[in-house]
């Protein structure tokens, strides 16, 4: 296999992160790595025993760690697919309905 010089390609990189909070429109995640604002990627997480993912765009990245590199990264969901099962948007919407309508509140 030989490619001509300067062929376009994509170099995919996976950042492991901790999910801080979620909403219908985006997430706040915490990472040891800085990510440029405007970066587009695919976010995967586990919500309610369900693996879900969505395409996202990084809208802010703030350093929050003093002793060690730690960043809070705000991402917004990109509507590249419908809000169907398996997407974070659908999972969050389902939970939001549960929180809004449930007569009983449970504390773990």
């Amino acid at each position: 296999m030989t490619l001509e010089s300067g062929s376009p390609a994509v170099l995919m990189r996976e950042h492991l992160m901790r999910i801080v909070d979620v909403s219908r429109s985006g997430c706040l995640i915490e990472s040891r790595h800085r990510v440029e604002v405007g970066t587009v990627g695919r976010l995967r997480l586990r919500l309610a025993d369900q693996e879900c993912s969505d395409d996202v765009e990084v809208v802010r990245c703030d350093a929050v760690g003093l002793a060690q590199a730690l960043y809070h990264i705000g991402v917004r969901f990109l509507w590249t697919t419908p809000r169907r099962a398996g997407t974070i948007r659908e999972a969050v919407s389902r939970h939001v309905e549960n929180v809004s309508t449930s007569p009983t509140v449970w504390l773990m």
Binding site: L11, M12, L16, S23, L47, V99, V105
Partner: protein
């Protein structure tokens, strides 16, 4: 063990007061509603009651050239750490019928800054041989 809670409880974290209301659905991850959110997001935010890990896969564009013996030279806007394992996604052939892509893991063996037409870029040397490609495809098929 779950305990029933009547009404919301208040949590104070630094100078931010959070109205915390947690709900455990039939199964899965509990979420906690946060009041007094900042105005950066238009929707209410929900904290996860249990820490949840996730992964963000990013797809930066590069220009790549195959060197020799499984080595590749990439020109990228972003640097890469030596020893880091990334996934190279190439379009080998494209026409009206579609495109033939190849995707395989590569290891960063060197990364040097480079100025291209006045802009900072990074020249990244990558190594990814055919065996690594086969193993990667088998892992992807297994899920």
């Amino acid at each position: 063990m779950r305990r029933a809670l009547v009404g919301p409880c208040e949590l104070s974290s630094k100078n931010v007061k959070l109205a915390h209301r947690s709900i455990q659905p039939a199964s899965g991850t509990a979420v906690a509603q946060i009041a007094g959110m900042s105005d950066r997001r238009r929707d209410r935010r929900f904290k996860l009651a249990e820490p949840t890990d996730g992964s963000l896969t990013v797809f930066p564009d590069i220009v790549v050239q195959e060197a020799r013996d499984g080595e590749w030279i990439a020109i990228s806007r972003e640097p890469a750490a030596v020893g880091e394992t990334l996934v190279l996604d190439l379009v080998l052939h494209a026409d009206d019928d579609g495109e033939v892509r190849e995707r395989f893991p590569v290891c960063v063996i060197d990364c040097q800054p480079l100025i291209v037409e006045g802009d900072l870029r990074h020249r990244i040397r990558l190594y990814g041989d055919y065996n690594a490609r086969i193993l990667f495809e088998q892992q992807v098929r297994r899920g």
